[in-house]
């Protein structure tokens, strides 16, 4: 689907030797590998569809109050009058779906499901993004350091990765989040829980990207341009920041995009288990947990479930497209 253009520069095919070609005076601007990848990505319809959905989701999360004020009701507003007081089931067909309540109502307390799904995106994306940034920062730094310096530094970092990967994260998260007080570190309530979730998800996920970056660094440092820099007298930091990191932008971008959906799922799982952000703040996982009791009313499960599904799928499609754009041979 894409031109067999070589990204890593190991191809031996090259245009014929033409010294001093293009001396006609027309301005010559080079195209970087990033620009080439972008052009390739633009031609990948599936990835662009994923990217569009991702952008829409982000806009939706940012503008949640505005969207809800147009199309719905405040997410915490109870509409008990629209719910059957005996069964808790919303009045009307399809769980009370109407032009007023686009996704219908929540059973028993009658909150606007549409508003809650829209607001749920905020928590989901916020935690997933910040946790991903944390993982990527730690993973990239430690991965490059391990791969570049090797020796005991590498041994230490690699063993640490093994320990982190063997860690029973879910159990730990449940225990830790369950045990936290109402306020700590100058934070209270939701913000404390969100900070803690970001920390747990982000801090324990760094070894995945760390391993990838370490492996890439190990192979990059054997390339002769690193020797060339060293033979010019460049020191470690110069080589890491100027020579190695620019070559690691692609894997960092790709694996960040692929880590986000996995963090979304993890956050949803924690919320589902009741150790995420607490009610009444709407979260997709928490809504799913509530829906379990009302399995006879499928709309209550479908909307938050679809929200998670679409979000995860969109990020994955975009991430895969990004990988193909940077390295067409990976297909």
């Amino acid at each position: 689907m894409t031109a067999p253009l070589d990204v890593s520069g190991t191809s031996s095919e090259a245009p014929p030797e033409t010294v001093l070609e293009g001396a006609s005076g027309k301005a010559i601007a080079g195209r970087s590998l990033g620009q080439i990848a972008w052009m390739r990505l633009k031609r990948d319809k599936v990835a662009m569809a994923g990217a569009t959905v991702v952008v829409l989701l982000i806009v939706m999360a940012l503008l949640a109050p505005l969207i809800v004020s147009w199309l719905g009701h405040p997410p915490d507003e109870f509409h008990e009058d629209l719910v059957d007081p005996n069964t808790g089931v919303p009045v009307g067909a399809w769980g009370g779906m109407s032009s007023d309540f686009l996704f219908g109502l929540e059973p028993s307390n009658g909150r606007d499901l549409f508003s809650r799904v829209v607001y749920g995106a905020r928590i989901s994306l916020l935690i997933a993004f910040l946790a991903t940034i944390l993982s990527v920062l730690i993973g990239t730094i430690l991965g490059v350091v391990a791969g570049y310096f090797r020796g005991w530094v590498d041994t230490l970092i690699s063993r640490a990765m093994d320990v982190f990967l063997a860690f029973p994260l879910l159990v730990f998260a449940i225990a830790l989040v369950g045990a936290i007080p109402e306020s700590a570190f100058g934070l209270t309530g939701d913000s404390l829980r969100i900070a803690l979730l970001i920390f747990i998800i982000g801090f324990f996920n760094w070894p995945y990207i760390g391993r990838i970056i370490r492996g890439q660094t190990l192979s990059l440092r054997e390339r002769e341009f690193v020797d060339a820099a060293r033979s010019l007298g460049a020191r470690g930091p110069y080589i890491i920041f100027r020579e190695l990191l620019p070559n690691l932008i692609a894997p960092v971008l790709i694996y960040s995009t692929l880590l986000i959906p996995s963090n979304i799922l993890f956050e949803a799982a924690l919320s589902f288990l009741g150790v995420g952000v607490r009610p009444p703040t709407p979260t997709w996982g928490g809504m799913l947990a509530d829906a379990v009791r009302y399995y006879t009313i499928p709309h209550f499960t479908i909307f938050p479930g679809m929200a998670i599904f679409i979000t995860v799928l969109a990020f994955n499609l975009f991430g895969d497209g990004l990988r193909d754009a940077f390295d067409p041979r990976s297909r």
């Binding site: 031996s12 001093l20 080079g30 070559n247």
Partner: protein, 361 residues
């Protein structure tokens, strides 16, 4: 001493002002002195990284390079040529022996002390596809030496880089292009441009043309020669066959399995090769002069190069040498001068002045 500007240009040194040719260059103090250089890569095994052996990639290499001359360093793949180059430029730490540059011992000099010296000694790398950072523009690549060494340029780095690009035959307008937009030959020119930025005295060119198309090899070799004349450069040119360096070298050293087995002026090495290995290499080379070929039997080397992990004892060439005797397996032949400026390490050298050859046995 630290900047190229405040030292006397190489051209003023006695002897090097003459056109490079036999004998003309080999006067005065050597620019580079390599003595019994060794590099053993440890081979480790198991969880505890226990050392179980060593790859003797370079195992006793000795030669001098004089200002203004070109020394060819020739040997089959894997004989340790690149490793020798990396030891000289201190990209690798020598296991033994010594390297002296302009009379200064740099064998174990710290990287910090080495930094200013690096301006005078540069390396052209073997693979033009891996020696240029794919994420940097040509301008960044060729300008890196100025940035790394913190050198101020009169009219800015860009101007300086464009001048160098023109010098190596590249379009200065290509300043903002990326390496993948160039052909192999052009990439090698970019690599050459980078080494020239700091006006070095010595350039070690590691197989500068072996990755290139045959049709453009000559162009790059000619460029190296022109640059040498223009900038008074001293070269160590590494190659894996004798034909590539024939044209450009003043002297040639032949390596086999980590050792120099023969070193001589170009004329005597190609005209009267003494070491059986050199003879074998030469007979594989197409000879431009058909008369020379008539006098020489075609020698075909049998067998593979033995592993440097476990090199044959005594003369390392004895497993493939057609002249090998018992003594070759017992006693290592020393590198001795059998004719003026012609050293060889062999018990039974060819083309040797009779009495000296006997003395060597």
């Amino acid at each position: 001493m630290t900047t190229p500007k405040d030292t006397a240009p190489v051209s003023d040194a006695p002897g090097s002002a003459a056109a490079p040719g036999e004998g003309a260059a080999r006067q005065g103090e050597p620019l580079l002195s390599v003595r019994d250089l060794q590099k053993h890569f440890p081979v480790t095994k198991g969880l505890l990284q226990r050392q179980v052996g060593a790859v003797k990639a370079v195992d006793g290499v000795t030669f001098d390079v004089y200002p203004g001359e070109t020394l060819g360093l020739v040997g089959e793949s894997g004989c340790g040529k690149t490793t020798t180059g990396r030891l000289i430029t201190r990209l690798l730490e020598p296991t033994g022996g010594s390297v002296a540059f302009e009379g200064r011992d740099i064998t174990h000099m710290s990287q910090g002390h080495l930094r200013p010296l690096r301006r005078d000694m540069q390396m052209i790398f073997q693979d033009p596809y891996s020696s240029l950072n794919p994420r940097h523009t040509v301008g960044t690549i060729v300008g890196a030496p100025f940035r790394i060494q913190g050198i101020e340029t009169e009219h800015g780095v860009k101007k300086a880089v464009q001048e160098i690009l023109a010098l190596v035959g590249l379009n200065p307008e290509h300043y903002n292009r990326y390496p993948h937009e160039f052909s192999g030959g052009q990439r090698q020119r970019i690599g050459i441009a980078r080494t020239l930025a700091l006006k070095p005295k010595l350039i070690i060119a590691d197989e500068p043309v072996s990755a290139l198309d045959v049709s453009i090899q000559a162009q790059v070799v000619n460029l190296l020669e022109d640059l040498q004349n223009e900038l008074n450069l001293t070269y160590v040119v590494i190659a894996h066959d004798l034909s590539v360096v024939r044209h450009i070298s003043d002297r040639v050293a032949v390596m086999y399995l980590g050792k120099v087995v023969e070193i001589a002026d170009r004329k005597s090495l190609y005209g009267a090769p003494m070491h059986p290995y050199t003879n074998a290499l030469l007979s594989a080379v197409p000879i431009p002069d058909p008369k020379g070929r008539a006098g020489r039997d075609r020698i075909r080397l049998t067998g593979d190069v033995p592993s440097p992990l476990n090199p044959p004892p005594a003369c390392r060439f004895h497993t493939r040498c057609w002249k090998a005797q018992e003594v070759c397996k017992q006693q290592e032949p020393p590198l001795v001068e059998l004719a003026t400026g012609h050293k060889v390490a062999c018990h039974f050298p060819e083309n040797a002045p009779a009495q000296k050859a006997d003395a060597a046995v």
